[in-house]
């Protein structure tokens, strides 16, 4: 197992809509195009479900960058485009209050075959994090011990 215990790298959380970014990530895979492996993609139906505190909490737990890949105006949900933009703006306010660089959270419209835009977003975030370093430089991470034994 020791080979897995490499030095901690920055972690990028990608929340990607099933109708958009998640399928775009699959399309990137189908094209066998490489990108950094510190990218963790979770499928979401519609990102308006996340309260701004969710993003703050994720940063506190040690996520260094979050890409929200939504479907924008192509969304099957009425509220996705406007609602998500609003949540992101609220999140930026909270991030500023906590001293978190707001570039760590980014919203991007990614469609199901948006291979190049997907790669661009991932690489940009990766480069950004290399420059500004892990989130722990900005806030004290809070490991989630309690969560480990749940439920």
């Amino acid at each position: 197992m020791t080979d897995l215990m490499q030095k901690p790298e920055t972690k990028i959380l990608i929340l990607a809509t099933l109708a958009g970014g998640y399928a775009g990530a699959d399309a990137t895979g189908q094209s066998h195009l490489d990108y950094p492996s510190n990218t963790y993609i979770l499928p979401v139906m519609c990102p308006v479900m996340f309260p701004p505190e969710f993003f703050i909490r994720s940063f506190e737990r040690g996520i260094d960058g979050i890409l929200l890949m939504y479907s924008g105006t192509d969304s099957p949900y009425k509220v996705e485009a406007a609602g998500t933009a609003k949540l992101i703006n609220q999140s930026y306010e909270l991030m500023k209050e906590r001293g978190i660089d707001i570039r760590r959270l980014r919203l991007a419209a990614i469609c199901t075959v948006c291979v190049k835009p997907f790669l661009k977003e991932v690489n940009n975030m990766h480069t950004l994090l290399k420059g500004i370093g892990p989130v722990s430089a900005e806030i004290k991470p809070q490991q989630a011990e309690a969560q480990r034994t749940l439920p």
Binding site: M1, L4, P8, D26, Q30, H32, S58, Q143, R148, P151
Partner: protein, 669 residues
């Protein structure tokens, strides 16, 4: 959660696709040591029969009650594995799929360690989510196997017939006293030259004789409630005013005349009337909007007729809106319409010819017509800033699609019946796009029709000729086909090829909560994914209520609408995905933030409940109307609401698993 999670974790080699990059055995080993995991296996090809059987066996033998699979993209095999767990007796939603191929091995082929670390984190996130999985049941709603079709024109009739022929019951409502709609006002139809009224009467016969169709004529929809599967409909049927016994006699005795809208007011009719011979029903009806209330002589007795309107209520599973179109009516003075008697619309000319079938020469307002000017795109393809605004402040910037072929069809008819006519055709683009339509264009060209191409920014002008002139009107137009030469065309008749606009159905739009586009026609969800469905579940569009169409296109749209209705209601049940909002009543304190955030009509509301003798407000979700977007989740101050299957707690657990250092995960061994 009642039972303790017993998680089975499966990491697929995908025949090397994953295992060439991701060290699957290592991933499986780390997973085996995570809390609640009872078995962690790898497999060369999990989707194979053997792989699937292994999972089934573990569910049965080891009591696995949550399944996490790391394999190809969920879009490929999620349905496969849902079926697998169901076969072993597990709820399909107790399975979670992690994409390790498209989103890991295939994109980190030069970074095996990185890909393996990623797989470990993604799989442990999957396990973390699995702990929070609850069994879910699809939302099944009883559906009334009956549809309401609003509108008794060709689209409504066709839709009703197709739905009924596929085994459902249909209630067809028509606001006017006769079936047939706008199509009944046409003579011959393109491209076949068949008689419109004959085609209609064949269709109407089938509809009215169908055992599963109920027809309500002179009936309005006055109330709509409920949701897909169970719409409550209030109808109001106006009285016919006559009976089978006295109908004809009353019509004969009637002396009140009103303009006949069937002939676009070119003629008059009695207020007890039939629009045309062969109409359905054959029984005359009273035009209540215009009846003056005076008594009518019947067998020597004076009768005063009264509208005895009758309300009806019914329940339907789906609603087809086939309310049709109105021909565009030019403003007074638009191309001289309404001011110059020798300016008519194409629709009017069609009725004029139908009313005078035997005429040897074309006469308009008593005047023999020798020179005719047809003007295309009247009330269509209007340009903002150039054309006058319509009443609602918009211009009709759309193409009405049928007028080009209809105009050229008319030119052919005119040339056939009145060979001596000189016809000028003023157009922008000739849009004879359909099968058999281009032939009318060629026919018009070969019969000597003079085509003049005008620019939409410089429309033709129609003015009165000076008294004593050879012709009553003059048409001024710049002809793009001859270097924008200015032409003055003397004419005996100017025919305006008017476009289509949707019928005035504001009340219905409000009741059904459907949306309209900028062109005021009803809006479909998506022109390709769901071209005849509205955003309101169970409300389907048929025909020209949705946009300009010809008869063939209306019929196709109507049949497509029928297919959607039958798919929806055929089983008597509607099933919706369980991914909808659910309220934890214990945490809810009725702030109403969720209700405010929700964009879906009737999806969530505050209800007053009695708790411990006190009245409290609690949010209640109506699953049938909820899209599962989660707008309510992010605004709830108490975290009392979640989208089932996609809860915030699940995401937090997944984030924690991803954030955890690999060292910690490995140490969990």
């Amino acid at each position: 959660m009642s039972e303790k999670p017993k998680i089975g974790v499966y990491t697929c080699y995908c025949g090397g696709n994953i295992s060439h990059t991701v060290k699957c055995e290592q991933v499986a080993k780390v997973m085996a040591d995570q809390p609640d995991v009872v078995i962690s296996r790898t497999n060369m090809s999990l989707c194979s029969d053997a792989g699937q059987s292994q999972i089934e066996e573990d569910i049965r033998e080891l009591g696995v009650n949550r399944v996490v699979i790391g394999a190809c993209a969920p879009s490929l095999h999620e349905p496969t594995f849902r079926n697998t767990v169901v076969r072993a007796g597990l709820n399909p939603y107790l399975y979670h799929h992690v994409g390790l191929r498209e989103q890991d091995s295939w994109v980190h082929s030069c970074d095996c360690d990185g890909a393996t670390c990623k797989a470990v984190r993604l799989m442990s996130a999957g396990v973390a989510k699995a702990r929070f999985l609850d069994p879910l049941e699809p939302i099944r709603l009883e559906a009334e196997k009956q549809a309401l079709v609003i509108g008794g024109g060709v689209a409504g009739l066709r839709s009703a017939l197709d739905i009924a022929n596929q085994g459902l019951r249909v209630v067809l409502v028509e606001k006017s006293p006769f079936l047939g709609g706008r199509m009944a006002q046409l003579a011959k139809v393109f491209p076949t030259g068949e008689e419109a009224q004959r085609l209609l009467s064949e269709l109407i016969d089938e509809v009215v004789q169908h055992p599963r169709i109920g027809v309500f004529i002179q009936t309005e929809v006055v109330g709509v409630s409920g949701y897909v599967g169970k719409y409550g409909i209030d109808l109001l049927q106006h009285g016919r005013g006559v009976t089978a016994e006295n109908g004809e006699a009353l019509a004969a005795g009637c002396t009140q005349f009103v303009p006949d809208e069937f002939n676009y007011n070119l003629t008059e009719r009695k207020v007890i009337y039939k629009p045309y011979q062969g109409c359905y029903p054959a029984l005359p009806a009273v035009d209540w909007d215009h009846y003056d209330g005076e008594s009518i002589l019947l067998n020597g007795k004076k009768e005063v007729l009264q509208d005895q309107a009758q309300p009806y209520q019914l329940t339907v599973g789906a609603i087809v809106v086939a309310t049709g179109f109105d021909p565009y009516t030019p403003h007074t003075g638009e191309y001289g319409y309404g001011e110059l008697p020798q300016v008519a619309t194409l629709a009017e000319l069609i009725r004029h010819l139908a009313v005078h079938p035997e005429a040897k020469s074309l006469r308009w307002n008593g005047r023999i017509v020798r020179d005719v000017v047809m003007v295309h795109c009247v009330g269509s393809r209007e340009i903002e800033g150039v054309d006058a605004l319509q009443e609602d402040g918009l211009v009709n910037n759309y193409c009405s699609r049928v007028c080009c072929t209809a105009t050229l069809h008319m030119i052919e008819e005119l040339h056939t019946h009145f060979p001596g006519l000189n016809i000028f055709d003023l157009y922008q683009d000739i849009r004879t796009y359909g099968r058999g339509h281009e032939e009318y264009y060629r026919s018009a060209l070969s019969s000597g029709t003079r085509f003049v191409r005008y620019n939409g920014e410089d429309r033709p002008e129609v003015i009165a000729a000076l008294e004593g002139d050879t012709h009553p009107v003059l048409v001024h137009v710049k002809d793009a086909l001859t270097y924008n030469q200015e032409l003055e065309i003397p004419a005996d008749l100017v025919v305006l090829a008017t476009g289509m606009q949707p019928r005035q159905i504001d009340d219905l739009v409000r009741m059904l909560k459907v949306s309209r586009g900028n062109d005021r026609f009803l809006l479909e969800v998506h022109p390709k994914l769901r071209p005849v469905e509205t955003a309101v579940n169970g409300v389907i569009l048929a025909g020209t209520a949705q946009g300009p169409m010809n008869i063939q296109e209306s019929i196709l749209a109507a049949s497509a609408a029928a297919a959607k209705v039958v798919s929806l209601l055929g089983s008597g049940q509607v099933e919706l995905q369980p991914f909808v909002a659910a309220v934890n009543a214990a945490k809810c304190d009725g702030t109403g933030a969720c209700v405010e955030a929700c964009e879906y009509e009737g999806a969530i509301a505050l209800e007053t409940l009695v708790e411990n003798g006190k009245e409290v407000k609690r949010a209640v979700v109506t699953a049938a109307n909820c899209s599962g977007c989660g707008a309510c989740v992010s605004v709830c101050p108490n975290r009392a609401i979640d989208v089932q299957g996609w809860t915030l707690a699940q995401y937090e657990a997944m984030v924690d698993a991803i954030a955890m250092d690999i060292v910690d995960l490995v140490e969990a061994e």
